[in-house]
Structures are given as C-alpha cells and as structure tokens.
C-alpha cells in the first residue's frame, strides 16, 4: 500500500477541523486509510540520510497509508477533498474540460518503443510552495504506482509559455536526440544521457525501460525544442517553477488505460489551483493513422445499482435517501431510477478504482460504517471434513511422538547443495523444482527430501543431551510431467536418531511400529526391508522399504561424509518414506 506524507497543520487547516491524533486516526480507520506514523520532516530526512536537513522543520508530519487502487488519495489535495466530502463539509466538485488550444502529434515510430501519448493543459494556475511540492510529489507517486516505476506510464510537466505547439511525439535513434536535460548545464545526446544517469541513484532504475532500443521516445515543440525524453528526463528549457502559470502535461505509456488514469488523476487533483477551479484544457491527440482524439475527457460514467442489492450485499436495510446520502459522502452523485427501486450512480473521473457495482456497494458500506453493520451468522449448513492425507499425517505424527521422537518443522525451500552434494547425490538425480529468482542460496530449490532439514535441526542443537530423536511429517516437491503445473507434492515421514552409536535398530523399530499401526506389518508380503545401496547411506547399512508391493522409501545408517557435511560429529540413522501410499 502506498504511503503519503502530509503536514498535520496544513491538513487540518484544509479540512477546517483540528483533531487530536487519536481522533484523526479513528477517522482514517473508518474511511479505510491508515494513520501509519506520526513523525516530522526532520526525522524523515534524518532517517532517509538525506543531506541538508538544516532547513527542514520539526512540524508534525502524518504518514498515511492509502489503498493501492485509490490514485486520487495520493496527494493532500485529493485526500482533503475526499475527507471533506466524507464529513459532509463540501460537495464533490464537478470537473470540466475546456476546449483545446494545443495538439500533440504521435509519429508511427513510437510504436517500437512506447506507443501511447496524451497531454493536457492546466491554464492560469497559481502555485504556492506547498502546492507546487505536492504537484511534484504526486507525479512521483503516480510514476511509482499506476506507472509501475515508469514502465507503464511516465509523466512530464512543462511551462507552456516557454514552448510552442503543435508538439510531436517521436522516436529517434538516441544519438540523434540532443538537448539540455533538466538541471544540466550543457547538451547531451540520448546515449550520453544514459551514460550520465547510470550513476544517478534516482534515475538509474528507469534506464532499462528504453536501454538497448534502437529508438528512444522524445517530445518536441514546433521549433524542435525537446520537452522530454520519456520515461527518463525532461528538458531544461521547458522546466516548470513556482511561477509557472500554464502547465503543459505530457504522458507517455505502454498501457493506454493507465495513461488516462494518470492524466485524469493529475489534472483533477491540481486543477483546483486554476483560476477556473476544477477545469483543464484538453489537447488534440493526432494518432499515426491520422485520427484525432481529444484528451483528457474527464469522463463521468453512470452505473445503475438496485437498492435491494446494495442492502442485501451489505446486510443492512436502509431507505433510498440514506443510500443516496452515503453515496454522496463517497463523491458519487445519484438519482433514483426504476420507480425508486435503483440508483443511477455517477462515477467521477477521479475514481478509477470503480470497476463494478460491488465497488460502489463497498463505498456505501464505508459511509454507513463497517462497524455499524449488524453481525449475523451465515445459515450455511455443511459438514466438516478433513483432507485424508492431513488426517493420516496427524495420526502418524501422534504415533511417532508416542515413540519418544520430537517433531521438527523445517523449511520447504533449501539450497541445491542441501539436497545434492551434502547428501552425496548429483543434482540431476533429484527431480527438484528450481527457483529462477532466489535472493539467497537458501531458496534455490524446493526440498526433495526431509532429511537435510532434520540434519540441520540436529546441527543447531548439538548442545542438547543425546540421543536426539527427531521427526517430521511434511511435503517434499518433485517434478511430475503428469500434473498441470509439472510438479507435485509428496507427503513423507522422516525420522532421525543421533547418538554415539548409529542406532539402526531404533530407526528400524520406529519403522516396524509405524507399519504395525498402519496394519501392514502382519504379513511379510505387505511390509519388508531389503538391502540396497544409496550414496546418502553407509555401505551395507541401507535398506529399501517395501510396503503394499511398492518401494516407499529407505532407511539406514547415514554416510559419515553426510554427517560431516551437515557439521555433525556423531553417527545417525534415518528413515524416510512416502506415506501417501497408505491413503
């Protein structure tokens, strides 16, 4: 969930109410956001080890966590607006699009690298230092969230009065792009900029998005002034400042829907500072096929939802006027339709999270108050049932524990070495499922045997009095072509006895007992063990376990090299069998 930092005093001034921290925390809780932390600018700077925190203040900052799909809450402007509407201190604003004065022409080559572009103009805007910072912050937040770190969407904002339309969105070989990038003193080519920014802690993570492409995206004005080289950097020429009056916003994207969401969010949030609040100028987007589209549209959608459905899904029984009031508190206008049986809900362009009537129903529930909903117990009548393999596992666990063995709980993931070299096996004999992106060697494979985990458990408990008797009943994972995913779990029992003498007879006794309680030990044809060789076990001291006509596992004295590979220094015996055969 994304987090935003808001100055407490500015927030309360904007809402028009002063809360205690507790009261504001409660309001957040009810509204579905979370007052995560109360801190100060200075503390944040110190923690993030930023330099020059002398000019930062001790003013209280709220860190607020907002839902990942609520892009309209990613800045103070949007959060304040939503809370004020929720508190019925203002009506939801109406967003208007003004006719266009600008055109953005998309060239066909852009399809090779970043095919979509949109634009908008915020006309006659007045920034304060605070609102200007919020404007920059929101762009960062949108890059991070809806933009998926600029891969899907990147935003550029410019002082429109420094450039001249029409604008063209092109894709050029990087060496043919040359401009003075933001905060640079001289011009660099596209390639040089990539080299320059490969040392920039902030920008270097975005470079791979276009690196290696034959063409880089670039936006020009009619005089070939570079506005930006998305998704990396804007031009210095058109940089905006506190004094910028007319803002030109460009959006480039690989996902058109997300581009629209980002643009709608940015303009609906900051058009409140335009001289005609909540308006923005649209821009004509000329696509490579010659079609011209007007963006942004700030489209209001309509959704009819039956009152009965709203009440039923939540478990309340509220009259129409209350439902409409709840809707209005969540920024939805509504009209009664179907002879008062349904509401036609108008969804504002700020609410990209509304996909389905269920999203509207949730908002009604939030306005009603989740904790005001009467709790009921479902009448669903069903019979409890255990998964057979889990039931059998629990019965076997109990029997083995009754034999004086202690249960271990080890990881299902381990290193390649754990299941191969340390067990004196080759990786290709293991049928192991291999992980593509492990952060450490501990998570290279899913275990194919329970033995390494138990030996590691003993190694971590060498100071305990011997003998150690431990066991685990759990799943290993083996590749299996016959399943839809190509791998399958197998439930196993593994037990280890560790002492000054190997105690093969102890492990053998355990196996005999387990076979006895599984009712297969009475007949030699049902259960027997037979000498075999296995590199994990000591020669002459390993046997295959046969039950119900199948080989189900092995038991034996652990090979001394395996003992030392797991940092142990005394003999051990072990048994490991597949128990799914007994289902």
């Amino acid at each position: 969930m994304p987090t935003i930092n808001i100055l407490k005093d500015a927030l309360f001034e904007a809402i028009g109410i002063s809360y205690t921290d507790e009261e504001f925390g409660e309001l957040c809780f009810d509204f579905g956001i979370e007052l995560d932390e109360i801190t100060s600018e200075k503390q944040i700077f110190v923690r993030e080890k930023k330099e020059k925190f002398d000019d930062t203040s001790d003013a209280v900052v709220y860190k607020i966590e907002v839902p990942a799909n609520r892009y309209d809450l990613l800045c103070m402007e949007g959060l304040v607006r939503s809370l004020k509407v929720f508190l019925r201190r203002m009506a939801a604003p109406q967003y208007f699009v003004l006719s266009s004065t600008q055109r953005l022409i998309i060239r066909s080559e852009t399809a090779q690298v970043r095919p979509f572009a949109l634009a908008a103009v915020l006309r006659n805007i007045t920034f304060t230092e605070a609102s200007y910072n919020n404007f920059i912050d929101l762009q960062d937040k949108l890059h991070l969230t809806v933009g998926r770190k600029r891969t899907l969407v990147a935003i550029g904002t410019h002082d429109l009065d420094t450039v001249e339309g029409p604008f063209t969105y092109e894709a050029l070989p990087p060496q043919q792009i040359k401009f003075k990038a933001l905060n640079q003193v001289k011009e660099y080519t596209g390639l040089e900029l990539m080299e320059l920014y490969s040392h920039d802690s902030h920008l270097k993570e975005y470079l791979p998005i276009i690196q290696g492409k034959s063409v880089y995206p670039v936006i020009f004005d009619r005089n070939r002034v570079v506005l930006s080289m998305p998704p990396i950097i804007n031009g210095d020429h058109s940089r905006i400042s506190l004094n910028t009056k007319n803002v030109f916003i460009d959006i480039t994207a690989t996902d058109l829907n997300k581009a629209k969401i980002a643009l709608d969010t940015l303009v609906t949030m900051f058009s409140q500072y335009c001289d005609k609040p909540f308006t923005c100028e649209c821009v004509e987007i000329e696509r490579p096929d010659g079609q011209v589209e007007i963006q942004p549209q700030l489209k209001y959608r309509e959704q009819v939802v039956s009152l009965q459905m709203i009440n039923q899904k939540i478990g309340i029984n509220e009259p129409a006027e209350n439902i409409q009031m709840f809707l209005s508190r969540m920024c939805f206008e509504s009209n009664l339709v179907d002879e008062g049986e349904s509401v036609k809900v108008t969804i504002p362009p700020t609410r990209a999270d509304i996909l389905h009537p269920c999203d509207i129903i949730e908002d009604v529930a939030i306005a009603f108050g989740f904790n005001n909903v009467h709790k009921t117990f479902p009448k669903t009548c069903t019979v409890g049932h255990q998964l057979p393999v889990n039931k059998l596992s629990d019965q076997i666990r109990l029997e083995v524990a009754l034999l004086g063995f202690t249960e271990a709980l080890t990881f299902a993931l381990c290193s390649c070495d754990d299941i191969s070299s340390r067990l004196r096996k080759k990786m290709n004999e293991t049928s192991a499922v291999q992980i593509a992106n492990p952060k450490t060697s501990e998570f290279q494979v899913a275990r194919t045997s329970l033995l390494p985990g138990l030996l590691k458990t003993i190694a971590a408990n060498k100071r305990m009095p011997i003998p150690l008797r431990i066991f685990e009943v759990a799943d290993v994972v083996l590749k299996d072509k016959h399943t839809d995913v190509g791998a399958q779990n197998q439930r196993r029992l593994c037990a280890v006895y560790y002492n000054k003498t190997p105690g093969f007879e102890v492990i053998h006794g355990l196996l005999d007992r387990v076979m006895q309680v599984l009712n297969v030990a009475n007949d030699k044809d049902f259960y027997y063990i037979k000498a075999t060789e296995d590199s994990t076990y000591f020669t002459g001291w390993c046997a295959e376990v046969y039950a119900l006509g199948k080989a189900i596992g092995k038991l034996g004295v652990i090979h001394p090299e395996v003992i030392t590979a797991f940092d142990l220094n005394m003999p051990a015996s072990a048994v490991e069998i597949d128990i799914e055969q007994f289902l």
């Binding site: 579905g32 996909l355 389905h356 989740f370 479902p378 255990q386 709980l409 993931l413 952060k439 408990n461």
Partner: protein, 508 residues
Amino acid sequence: LVTTEGLAWTMADSLSEQILKTLAEGKKFNTYEYASELGVDHQLVVGAVKRLTSLEDVIQAKQEQFERWHLLDEGNEIVEKGSHEARVYYAVDITNGTPKSLLLTSSPFAKIGISKALSAGWIKMERISSEDVIMYRKVSSIDDKIQKLLIEVKNGNINALSSDQLKELKKRNLIEKIVINSYMVQPGHEFSTTVSKLKAVLTAEMIQSGTWKSMKFKQCNFDALGTPLNCGHFHPLMKVRSEIRQIFLEMGFEEMPTNNYIESSFWNFDALFQPQQHPARDAHDTFFLKDPELSTQFPLDYLKKVKAVHQTGGYGSIGYCYDWKLEEAQKNILRTHTTAVSARMLYKLGQQEQFTPVKYFSIDRVFRNETLDATHLAEFHQIEGLIADYDLTLGDLMGVLHTFFSKAMGITQLRFKPTYNPYTEPSMEVFSYHEGLKKWVEIGNSGVFRPEMLLPMGLPENVSVIAWGLSLERPTMIKYGLTNIRELVGHKVNLEMVYNNPLCRLDK
C-alpha cells in the same frame, strides 16, 4: 550383620541415637567439641550428622570452620611426663649428683634436656675425669613452664599463651596449627529421636514377606523434582495448527487439498482477477520457477473467460482494459497464498451441475520472495476460510469472523477497517484490541470475492463467497511471547523450547 561394614553402621547408628538424645535435651553443639567430649573420632560424629541431615529436616547442621592448635607426639609426651629439661632435673640424684653418661640414657630427649636445664640454671656440672662429668642440682625446686603451657594448649586455652611462647613451642615441634571442618548441629523442624529407625523405600521383598507391616517409613521429599522422562513432543506451531484446524472442523468446514506448493500464475493471480501488472507479481515478491518454468494445461473455456474479464470486463465490470497475455499466466511460481487453491476449488464448484453451499478451509505453507527480518520468512503458513452460499452479506462475514476469532483466540473485541485487495470487494482488515499493547492490532484480512472472479468460474450470480485469512506464525508468536520467527520455524529452532512448550489451549 557381622561384616566390618555392618559393624560400622551399627556404631554410627548408636552415635546417631546419642546425637538425637543430646539434641532432645535442648542442646546444640559443635561436632568437634562434641567428639572431644565423647572422646570419639570427630569424623565419626560428622558421618552420623550427615546421615541425619539426609532425613527430612530432622536436624539442621551448619558448616563451621575454625583453626586449632594441636599437640604433636613430642608435645603429648611432655604433657604426660614433663619437659625434657624437667625430666633431666628430676633424674639428677638430689645429694650425690649423677654422671652425665648415666643421665643421657634416662630418656630419648636427655641430650636436649641437659642443655636446656643447664641454660635454665637448674643444674650444674663438675668434671671428675677426662671421660665423664657429674651433674648436680643447682636449685632445690623447679617450675616446668613448658609442660604447663602445653597442657593449656591441649585444653584449648590458647589465649593463655603469649605469641612468643606459641612461637617457641612451634619451633620446638611440639605443636602445629590445623583447620577443623565441623558442623554446628541443632534440632530441625521435624525433629524426632526415633527417625533413625525409618526405612527409605518400600520394596517388593517387604511386600512379599509382609515385613512392611512392622516397619516405619520415612516420608517422601516432596520438594524434590520428579525424574525427567524420555518423551516425544509435537512442534509448537503444529500444536497451534491442530487447534485451529479443530475449530474449523467444529464449525463445519471442509479441508481443501493444499498439498501443491507449485502453482501457475494463472491460478495464483489471474483467476483471482489480479491484473498482470500488479506489483505482487513482481520478481521482488514472488518466487518464479526455472524448472518447470511454465504450466501448459488449463481449462480453456474458463481461461478465455478470465482473459476477457481482465481485458474488457463483463459481468457488470469494465475490466482492467489491458492486453492480457497467456505467457504471463503460464509462469510457474511457488504459490504466494493458499487462495490459489480456493480458486481451483471454487472453479470446480462452479462446474457442478447444481451449486451446493460449501465451507472450505486450509492451513498450509505459502511463499514470498520478501526481504527477511525478525518477523518475516520466505515461507509461512496461511490460515484461510471461506463460505460460498446464496445471498451472503458483509454482516455474515463479520459474524463468522467473530465466532472464529473468539474460538481461535478468545478475542471478542473486533473492529473492521475498509481496505483494498485485488480479489475482494468489500475488503476488511480485522483488528482486535490487544490488552497488553493497549491498542488495536491487525489480526487478519477478509472480504467478499469479486464477481469478476466468481462469475467466470460458472458460479450462480446470487452466490457470494466470503473469505478470510491470517498467518499461523503471528498469533503463535504472540501466544508464546516470541520475537524472532526463527526461534519458532525452521532448523534453527531450539529443541529445548519444543520440549518445554505447554499444551496449546487457544481459549486460555
């Protein structure tokens, strides 16, 4: 008993009796002094006292250490017979004197006696020939100080001697200093003069012969611990798992087959209406597989519906409006939640000819490629419950959560916070009031599965599925007061913690 050992026992027994008798007279004593009073070896008294202290608080014995000056053999002889010089003096004939050669045979110490007596001025000598001299008494009576001093030492009146005198006696090898380990003995709380006759344990022989009837037995020492037994143990986390599993079963839930750690992205994400660009699908959060890399078998009809609902919506939804890719859905992963199994189960349910209400649960491992810390591991156990039935409400979800958490944790104070999950709407975080921390803490997540997830599966439109989940480790750590998850899960667990772990009683 006629063995020497037996004899020693008998002697010790009579000594014990004597000690008890002495104590019964209300005296307390030091064993060293007591031994010298009785004229027995101190070690015998100490042995008897030790035997008595092994009985339950019959006597109390406190160790005391002190120094004693002790007469050496030569010193003892002086006490008995007088100092060497005195013996020489008395051996000299009172009128005629005695030749030195005769005197030298009067005692083994005569030579030193003569020189001491001469220097003390008690005797004198006269040479009568070149071979011999005659010794005469010089004074009519003597005072044998050495003997007197040694008698004082023997009687323990060490203070009667000056330090020079002590030094002198020591120099002459007549006395030495020794350290005495002794005990101060007094009656204990359970004092009795008859204890020495009690038997320690009942034996098979006593029962068979019937001799126990005439015997008295000492009482068991209830302050001592019992013997630690060799026993097996269940793992603490598995004990909590068993209890929670039991609660689901009591509530009529059926266990889902979650024994498949490997899952395709399709069932783990796409089937749950989780868009393909969702951050959870990043390599930062999810373990992808190198081998087997891709899943190839999907129910095609259903897959087409999932693709459509992501791309263009349907079932009343506008969808996510993006280009859904099969290759993304095919990617195999270690499942990030057991909800992947819920999706498979609900799909199966949707394929039934006639829908039947179900309650499902599971407790099993899930995997996250997260940064590890004291409370996060790459794998943990997820507890999940869901109910699918006609017309379930948000109130029903709250009601079932109340029942579950009051059974599972004895928690009755619950609050619900609106939240966002990609596959549930409404979504609620579950908070409970923590008495220790004096604040509300999140204990689980819940919600109503989205229609975009359920309807492509073929479930009827008015069927709702309410669900909730939580980790098994977190409540277990809180229950057992653990701060580091590695103390609970994995091979670094301390087996002693496992051995000593109490029963899991979630309602206590």
